[in-house]
Amino acid sequence: MAKPFMDYESIVVTRLTYYLEQEYSARFPDLQVVTDDLITRPSRWPTVWVRAIQNVERDRELEGDRIVGVTATFQIEVYDNASQENAKDVGDSVTAIMKSMAFDGIQLPEKDSVSSVWRVIGRYRRYIAADDVL
């Protein structure tokens, strides 16, 4: 029986973690990338919250016994307790990393500053075929 193809969510999270640590280890030593359920108030700052929100199978074959491709969508939110600029700066880096994997980005205009928590939100989507290399 054919299994679903690659665990691309793990690849995305691993890449984000690696490259954000590379870029911000000195400036934001507490930066973390999490995939937990919805955060009310992160314990470390900045926090990058990654959520795979949609995974739609596409391009079905007559054989119908394997997943040929999916349209994958991630929502990634960056939280910071110091400034909106920090959150935006990390968010821009997130977008660059996602673009390196050919995701199309939508930076949502929503900004929160509730209880001194600043947040930027981005959604990233791309078609992923079974043998694609991210």
Binding site: R58, D59, E63, D65, G69, Y127
Partner: protein, 159 residues
């Protein structure tokens, strides 16, 4: 009634004894759609000046090139390139068990393959263009098809 899932097209190198479709067959491509191997039958106008409207009798079917689109995969693509200009037998199977329980059509022809347009939001596809060189015959109840892996098939005459 059945869906089109597991409708398949198989091939083998042409057997001179074209009325015997038994033997070993291989899947040509994993299709996304499978066009008909039969052309549309035309009509011949047989009306006379006495008829108040044109009347027709059945003519013959139009020639067919089956353009079968499927996933572009190296193994299938390489095999089809090797088969260019080789006379082949084809077997089209209809039925969701993948063995032609609804219908089986056999014919002889040639295949040529081309990569399709590459698109960022779709997987790569290729199209096998099959020239149908003989009139497809329906052999649904005359032969039995078996397979173990869904790629190689054995066709035997029904007892």
């Amino acid at each position: 009634m059945a869906s089109g899932l597991k409708s398949r097209i198989l091939y083998r190198t042409h057997n001179d004894e074209t009325t015997n479709w038994a033997g070993s067959w291989t899947m040509l491509i994993r299709p996304k759609t499978l066009p008909s191997p039969l052309g549309e039958r035309n009509s011949i106008d047989v009306s006379t000046l006495e008829d108040e409207q044109e009347v027709t009798e059945p003519g013959r079917r139009a020639s067919v090139t089956m353009s079968v689109q499927g996933a572009m995969e190296k193994d299938y693509l390489d095999a089809m390139v090797q088969l260019a200009d080789t006379k082949l037998d084809f077997l089209v199977l209809y039925g969701t068990e993948g063995l032609g329980s609804i219908a089986k059509y056999a014919f002889t022809g040639f295949v040529d393959v081309n990569p399709d347009e590459a698109d960022a939001d779709e997987h790569l596809t290729m199209t096998a263009n099959i020239a149908v060189s003989t009139v497809p015959v329906k052999i649904t109840d005359d032969y039995t098809v078996t397979t173990t892996d869904g790629k190689a098939f054995t066709v035997t005459a029904a007892g």
